[in-house]
């Protein structure tokens, strides 16, 4: 659209800079994948140590370190949290956006204010609570802190955008309240829900602090925690930790490759509208 700058030197410098910047973003991750195929015992990683497509470090993780379990745990946590966050955020957001609840502005602001609270403040007491209710080392404990105000806030922005005419028309047609919610509201904000799912997925998959303290048993470790605890083991052999890091990176990455549009548009929608 703006053709004039195309040939200017500024443009060329800009392209070079942005390309270099993109390379800087990606090279460490390529390096991570390469080293995950390396068999090293030294700090020095030589190129000839890297045997691509020889999955010994990965085999080691699954055979000796039982990595299947943390992967399964992470997947379970992700699935439960995506569903729970979607359900709770949509219902609450609908109530806040479209229903004449007395004092809802106050209540909503209260919810919103929790976004300001550092997680550590909540986690200390949440930990005490979970312990007393014997919920530590359960999937419930791992999922609960992922439910946050952000989803409610974001969904409210989008549900507010649904024209009231639609809802009123449906009411006149005799649609039940639940039907309006499930058949009109939810489909209309589907892109936003996908965005929220992407966000939830990312934070559930990558969470470290809470799973670190709430899942003390090996069998409840998430992939992120398992990856983290692996590194302290192999200070000199970078292969297994890099393989674990690659595994933990792979799932979001594959998802990103297939759902790039949802990721990017989702984050853009969340960021710009929110």
């Amino acid at each position: 659209m703006i053709r004039r700058e195309r040939r200017s030197w500024r443009f060329v410098v800009g392209v070079v800079f942005v390309t270099l910047f993109a390379l800087l973003c990606i090279i460490p991750l390529v390096y991570m994948v390469l080293v995950s195929f390396a068999d090293t015992t030294t700090m020095y990683i030589r190129w000839e140590d890297i045997q691509l497509f020889d999955f010994f470090n990965y085999r080691y993780l699954f055979e000796n370190r039982n990595f299947g379990r943390p992967i399964l745990n992470s997947l379970i946590v992700v699935v439960i949290s995506v569903i729970a966050v979607d359900l709770l955020s949509c219902t609450m957001a609908y109530g806040f956006a479209k229903k004449p609840i007395p004092g809802k502005k106050w209540v909503f602001n209260l919810v919103l204010a929790t976004m300001m609270i550092p997680t550590q403040v909540v986690f200390i007491s949440l930990y005490v609570m979970m312990r007393q209710w014997h919920l530590l080392n359960t999937y419930i404990a791992l999922v609960i802190p992922l439910i946050g105000a952000f989803g409610v806030f974001m969904m409210r922005q989008f549900i507010r955008g649904v024209p009231n005419d639609f809802i009123e028309a449906a009411q006149i047609d005799g649609c039940s309240e639940l039907r309006i919610f499930t058949r009109i509201i939810l489909p209309m904000v589907k892109p936003a829900r996908i965005t929220l799912a992407v966000f939830t997925f990312n934070s559930a998959w990558n969470a470290l602090l809470w799973p670190l303290i709430a899942a003390t048993k090996n069998e409840m470790q998430t992939l992120t925690v398992a990856t983290s605890s692996l590194t302290s083991y192999f200070a000199t052999n970078y292969g297994p930790p890099m393989a674990a890091a690659t595994l933990s990176f792979l799932v979001p990455f594959i998802l990103y490759c297939f759902m790039q549009k949802q990721f990017v548009e989702g984050i853009a929608l969340g960021g710009v509208k929110g």
Partner: protein
């Protein structure tokens, strides 16, 4: 309409219950614990302001607070400015397949967890045999002990954090710029505005709400930096990279001094609130 209110309450009640119990109640519990001594084994013992008295004389914590502030001062402006410049260039001048490809690539580090990011950067930044020092060695520089020297450690930690999060902010700014009405930009073009003028007088003001959001989120997140410190340096060397969030973790979940850790957490909350109000003021002030 009364029915509608009842429906509304029905919609928000399940969520509100969860919020009250797991989000809001813990805040007050932590506030309560901050006045007690509590190690989880014996019941909490009320000691009034003793924890706070200790907090203010804790040199380790003071250092961590300074580190945290430095970390915020490095990461938030850098990730905001770099993201804005890159997004601006991609949206304005490289709005083609290559530009979109670059945008996709820049986003990729955001997908990695801090643990994965720190694991690989630890290898890259290793003083001996690390990729960065090997490369610098070719040019006869170094070796630099990136994570071991207190002068560079915190900067490295901050830069790794920027590396990881800049793609996220780029995407948001990119979308924001694309949302700016094309006619506004073309009008500016016809008026003969230079690229710099267009950036300063059109893009930046129009992006202000998004920038506000990004800076707000960036500050809140950066003040809670834990993962990257935990994994990359463990707070060392000589406490040069310990952050308040890391200290809270160590006090609460390694030493189980719940009361004391709560006091530090409350302090962190206070700092974030103060910074938030200052920032709000700053943004509003600029509008005039």
């Amino acid at each position: 309409m009364h029915w509608q209110a009842a429906y509304g309450i029905a919609y928000i009640t399940p969520g509100m219950l969860i919020f009250l119990v797991f989000c809001i109640a813990p805040i007050f519990m932590t506030l309560f614990y901050s006045f007690t001594e509590y190690n989880l084994a014996q019941p909490p013992e009320w000691i009034a302001l003793e924890n706070y008295a200790k907090v203010f004389s804790n040199t380790q914590l003071r250092k961590a607070l300074v580190n945290t502030v430095i970390y915020v001062i490095i990461t938030v402006p850098l990730q905001t400015i770099v993201a804005m410049l890159v997004a601006n260039f991609l949206a304005e001048y490289l709005n083609n397949r290559y530009g979109r490809f670059l945008r996709s690539v820049i986003f990729i580090p955001t997908l990695a967890s801090y643990v994965a990011a720190a694991s690989v950067w630890e290898v890259i930044l290793a003083s001996k045999g690390g990729l960065l020092n090997e490369i610098l060695g070719i040019f006869g520089v170094g070796p630099v002990n990136w994570l071991g020297d207190p002068k560079t450690a915190l900067i490295c930690v901050s830069l790794v954090a920027v590396w990881k999060s800049v793609g996220y902010f780029t995407i948001i700014f990119y979308a924001g710029i694309m949302n700016v009405d094309v006619s506004v930009r073309e009008a500016a073009l016809i008026d003969g505005a230079t690229p710099r003028q267009r950036f300063w007088y059109i893009t930046v003001p129009l992006l202000k709400p998004i920038t506000y959001l990004n800076v707000t989120l960036g500050i809140i997140w950066s003040f809670q930096a834990f993962d990257i410190v935990y994994k990359l340096t463990g707070g060392g060397p000589f406490g040069a990279t310990s952050t308040v969030a890391y200290i809270i973790y160590a006090y609460a979940f390694q030493d189980f001094r719940i009361g004391y850790a709560s006091a530090v957490a409350v302090l962190l909350l206070a700092v974030i609130l103060i910074v938030h109000f200052v920032q709000q003021h700053f943004f509003e002030g600029k509008e005039d």
